[in-house]
Amino acid sequence: MCLAVPMQIIEVKTVSTATVELGGSRLEVDVSLIENPRPGDFVIVHAGFAIERLDVEEANARLELFSDLAAAGAVRT
C-alpha cells in the first residue's frame, strides 16, 4: 500500500492543495508536507498527499548512468 509514484505539479491552488498530473490524468493532492511547492516540480504522491519532492538533478544523473550501462552492454553483446 505504500507504492507511491512521481507526479508533476500543474498548479498550486492554496497553501496546502495542488493539481498534479501523470500520463494525462490529473489529481488534486495535499502539498502541506512539501516545502514551497511550485508548478513544474515533481512530487511523490501517496494516498492523496505529496510526501516528498523528486530531485530532478539526482534523477537525471541516475538516468544518464543507466544509458551508459545500456550502451556498454550493447557493445559487448
Binding site: 495535499d30 494516498a47 492523496g48 541516475r62 550501462l69
Partner: protein, 371 residues
C-alpha cells in the same frame, strides 16, 4: 514518463545483472552465501514482478521482511473494525483491508451483511465522506507505516480546520526501525544486509538506519521501487560485504534525504506518541506503534467508541508469521495456492498486493527469461 520508465530500462537491467554476477563470482567463492532482506512490501512486489530473485548470482539470497502494513495488522484490529461496522458507523478504508481475515469474519463479509464500508484511494476522500453526512460517525482505518501515517494523521488538522467533527481514526500505525531491531535480535535469523524501504525512508531519512550499520555492523542500502533501483541496491549491499564495510548508502537520492521530511516529522511529534504494538508474526515490539496523543482523543475511534483492540485469533495453519520474518518461502506453506489464493485468502500475506504470498502467487510462472 521518464522518471518511471527510465528506471525500468531492460538493457541497463541486463548490464547490472551481469555486474552482479561478476561481483558474486569474485566475492562468494568460499561457499558462504549472503542473505539480504528487503524490508518493504513494495520491494517484495517489484522483486517478484521483475523476477529479480531469479536473476541474482548464486549465493545471494533475498528474503522478504515485515514491510507490508496490511500483513502485520493483527486479527484483533480487524475484529474491532468489524464490530464498529456492525454498530452502524461508516468505515473508511484503503481497499487492501477489506479481505483481511479477522478472527471470525472480514470487513468484506461485514459489508455484505449490510455494513457501510467505503473504500478510498486518497486519505482526503475521508473528509468529503464525513462532511457529506455530518449526522453520522465516520471512522478511518488508520493503518500503515510512516509513509501512510503522514497522510492519514494529516487528516486530523484538516478535519479540525474544516470543523468536521464526526471523523475519527482507528489507529494501528507502525514504524519500521523497531521491527528491524526485532529481526536482528532473532537468533534464528541471519541477515547480512538490509535493503531499506523507499518511501518510509523519504519520511524518516536515510540516517535513521545508522544504528544498524554502526552498532550491528549490518550494511544498509536505501533503494527505490523500480527494478533498476533494486538491482543497484543489491549491488551496493554486495560491494559493502566484499569490502568489509557496514554503512548506510542512499541509492534513492532522487527522493530520500539524510534527514527525511521535516514537515512530516513535525506533524508526527505534534499529534502522535509511541506505543508498544502487536505485529502479526512478530509479536509485541516495544515502542513500534504510534497512537494519537491524549489531546486528540476525540479523534481516536478506540477512545470515542470504547472499543479495545485485542490480539484476536489467527488461522492455525497459516504461516504468515514465518513468511513475514523471512523464515519461510510462501510456496513452502502447505496451504499456498491450494487452499489459499488471492480470491480466497486464508492469511493477510495473500490479501495485500504487497504481501509476500500474493506476490509469489501472482508471479509464480515468471522464470529467468526476463534477463
Amino acid at each position: 514518463m521518464k522518471y518511471i520508465e527510465g528506471f525500468r530500462e531492460p538493457r541497463a537491467a541486463r548490464a547490472l545483472v551481469e555486474k552482479l554476477r561478476l561481483l558474486g563470482q569474485s566475492s562468494l567463492k568460499d561457499g558462504n552465501g549472503v542473505t539480504f532482506m528487503e524490508v518493504c512490501g513494495s520491494h517484495t512486489m517489484a522483486i517478484a514482478r521483475y523476477a529479480i530473485r531469479e536473476a541474482l548470482p548464486e549465493g545471494v539470497a533475498l528474503v522478504s521482511g515485515p514491510g507490508c502494513p496490511v500483513c502485520v495488522t493483527p486479527a484483533g484490529y480487524l475484529d474491532a473494525a468489524i464490530e464498529l461496522a456492525r454498530q452502524g458507523v461508516i468505515m473508511i478504508s484503503f481497499g487492501d483491508m477489506l479481505h483481511v481475515p479477522g478472527s471470525r469474519s472480514s470487513l468484506a463479509r461485514a459489508r455484505a451483511a449490510g455494513g457501510d464500508i467505503r473504500v478510498v484511494y486518497s486519505a482526503l476522500d475521508a473528509l468529503q465522506i464525513a462532511a457529506a453526512e455530518p449526522q453520522r460517525e465516520c471512522v478511518f482505518l488508520a493503518i500503515g507505516f510512516e509513509t501512510t501515517t503522514a497522510p492519514v494523521a494529516g487528516l486530523v488538522p484538516l478535519a479540525d480546520e474544516r470543523k468536521i467533527g464526526n471523523l475519527s481514526l482507528l489507529t494501528s500505525f507502525k514504524t519500521i526501525p523497531p521491527a528491524m531491531d526485532a529481526l536482528i535480535a532473532d537468533p534464528e535469523l541471519r541477515i547480512d544486509g538490509f535493503m531499506c524501504p523507499a518511501h518510509v525512508s523519504a519520511i524518516i531519512g536515510a540516517d535513521a538506519y545508522l544504528p544498524y550499520a554502526r552498532q550491528h555492523g549490518i550494511p544498509c542500502v536505501v533503494a527505490g521501487f523500480e527494478p533498476l533501483d533494486i538491482l543497484l541496491g543489491i549491488e551496493g549491499l554486495l560491494r559493502q560485504i566484499i569490502e568489509g564495510r557496514a554503512e548506510v548508502e542512499n541509492q534513492y537520492s532522487r527522493v530520500v534525504t539524510a534527514g527525511g521530511n521535516r514537515r512530516a516529522q513535525v506533524l508526527f511529534q505534534r499529534l502522535l506518541e509511541p506505543e508498544d504494538a502487536l505485529w502479526r508474526g512478530l509479536g509485541v515490539i516495544p515502542a513500534s506503534g504510534l497512537r494519537l496523543k491524549k489531546a486528540y482523543s476525540s479523534r481516536d475511534a478506540a477512545v470515542r467508541f470504547g472499543v479495545t483492540i485485542g490480539p484476536g485469533v489467527e488461522h492455525a495453519a497459516c504461516c504468515c508469521g514465518d513468511v513475514i520474518k523471512g523464515k519461510l518461502n510462501p510456496a513452502a506453506c502447505p496451504l499456498f495456492a491450494k487452499v489459499c489464493t488471492p480470491d480466497d485468502p486464508v492469511g493477510p500475506c495473500m490479501v495485500s498486493a504487497e504481501g509476500s504470498c500474493a506476490a509469489a502467487y501472482k508471479f509464480r510462472d515468471i522464470r529467468q527469461h526476463a534477463y
